[in-house]
Assembly symmetry: C2
Homo-oligomer: 343 residues x 2
């Protein structure tokens, strides 16, 4: 399967490298719009760089070899993963993917209407099989939907989910964004977009979210409150989460006392860019009180959608079934697979 990646920023670079690790996919190249160090690095590492028509000269002046234009990449690919900035994906769809008849995977920054289905591998892989346009929901929504799917998939019904998010204010490289020493309602109104967005994947869930932005860059922190549809033992919840792929439990007595320590774990594993692909659930926080469930969960905003993009390609192109794809993606990216149940 020939895959083109349009956009080579925070998500695009991770997804392109993930494609390179798949036995059943070939990376044709990536579209880069700025001739910066990352374009240089990509070209030097053998990734073919395509650019918008009006940027060809700029890249040549910067001595970055240009393989062709965006149009060329789309033509040479069987499927596109579009990792453009918010709303640019929809423009690309009209300009390239529809005219050239190419299926495409979009990111959560786009409106849900850009695609035939909003996607999360655990939640609705089957519903995306053979779909022409698929939207991988954004980082926080991906984390929420995985969590809900894990519980429901293990027979734990959810009456309502109320999730309170301390969002990282900026990504590590975003030197212009804040806040510094502040807490910013983000948004001040209720709900934040994450609740409605989760319902594009799981329409029947009663979910409301609130969010504030804080001066941290590593991960988001979710404080989760749920009402379950009956009495469950804490052990049932812990076991459900522990055996779900892409969810990992971190325990204080093992040294995990903060999100930074979870990121250090990824660094110690040698994961590129300290990517934490898994929902990082604080095991100590899992509390069942009657029908109520509480827990805290870290979500690595830069990395978490990487595996979902790979699975979305397989779903769109009917290359593999749900669990086959999830298992292969997880193996190729080195996710924790110990104790996980694939299927």
């Amino acid at each position: 399967m020939r895959v083109g990646v349009v956009g080579f920023g925070t998500i695009g670079k991770r997804v392109a490298e993930a494609v390179l690790r798949q036995g059943d996919m070939r990376l044709i190249g990536v579209v880069k719009t700025t001739p910066d160090y990352l374009a240089q690095m990509a070209a030097r590492s053998g990734i073919k760089v395509y650019v918008p028509d009006d940027k060809v000269d700029e890249f040549r002046k910067a001595d970055i070899p240009v393989e062709g234009t965006t149009m060329d990449l789309v033509k040479e690919s069987d499927i596109i993963i579009d990792a453009s900035p918010e709303d640019v994906g929809a423009e690309n769809k009209d300009r390239y993917y529809v005219p050239l008849g190419r299926p495409a995977i979009f990111q959560g920054g786009e409106e849900a209407e850009v695609a035939d289905v909003s996607f999360n591998a655990l939640a609705n892989y089957e519903g995306a099989v053979g779909k022409r346009y698929i939207r991988v929901v954004s980082c926080n929504t991906t984390g929420i939907v995985r969590l809900l799917s894990s519980l429901m998939g293990n027979g734990i019904g959810i009456s309502k989910a109320r999730i309170f998010i301390a969002r990282r204010g900026a990504d590590p490289k975003e030197y212009k964004k804040g806040p510094i020493n502040d807490v910013v309602p983000n948004p001040a109104t209720v709900p934040s977009h994450h609740g409605p967005d989760a319902r594009t994947v799981l329409p029947d869930i009663d979910i409301v979210t609130m969010a504030v932005a804080i001066p941290a860059t590593l991960m988001h922190m979710h404080m989760v409150y749920m009402e379950l549809d009956g009495q469950y033992r804490r052990d049932d919840v812990v076991e459900a989460l522990a055996r779900t792929p892409r969810i990992h439990l971190f325990e204080a007595r093992h040294g995990f006392k903060s999100l930074a320590q979870i990121v250090e774990w990824a660094r110690d594993l040698g994961r590129k860019r300290n990517d934490v692909y898994e929902n990082a659930i604080i095991r100590d926080s899992i509390t069942v009180n009657g029908r109520e469930l509480y827990l805290m969960m870290g979500i690595h905003q830069e990395a978490i959608v990487t595996p979902e993009n790979i699975d979305a390609v397989r779903a769109a192109t009917r290359m593999a079934g749900k669990w086959e794809s999830i298992r292969e993606t997880d193996r190729s990216l080195g996710l924790v697979s110990e104790g996980k149940k694939y299927g």
Copy 2:
């Protein structure tokens, strides 16, 4: 009424200065344990400095005039406000206040058992009248109890309260504390102490709290979720909060988009040390959805218990009734009184 303040740190200095502003109280002096700039500043401003027996020489060497010992201050005072570090208040009680027969006000760092009653002026002033030992609950708990009391006092019943707190990691002056660029479960287990602590004042409330510490120093941020005992209009909630003393509504369209902007408001008012005595509720966040109520609320950890300490003195000594005391405290400290209903 002769008041002695034992401890002159974050709370003690604010409370001592608040006592100076009361027409019906006289500040005998303060106990200071370190001969630092603040001790100098107090002495120069005319506040009499008392020190523990074993510190007298140290202070004299530092050229800070010493009025007497802790024992002297307690003897010369009719009532003590103890603003010592956690657990030291209980030691002081056994060592000074009980033997010398002095009533005392303690802070929320002490165990509830140190006092006859845990106190918040709006919630249970009457229950503290004439009590010998009163404990003013800590900053977050004070904020929570005010909020709940405001609603209940205006006929809005609360079935359950679930509150999710992004705590400031340290006070502005605490140069050794973290976190930097991190989110720390604080604690990882559920509930955090705030829920049970709120029940020392309002025993019948079904309340659970979760908390994380973040890299900010200005204020705590509470994300509040409640289930009410019936259907209420949003306007009813807004009006209840707006007319409650010590609660102030901040609206985004007036320029209040973050906690830092609320602190800037206090600076623009010329409040000493930018103290925000009020619960700072983000008006835009107040959302009623069926029986559910959502809102965001900033709590200034350094300042919010100042008025409660003054009221606690009046309650313990039967100097004034509830609303008389609250109104006088608020007037003397310059709290927002516009539109407030005192009684």
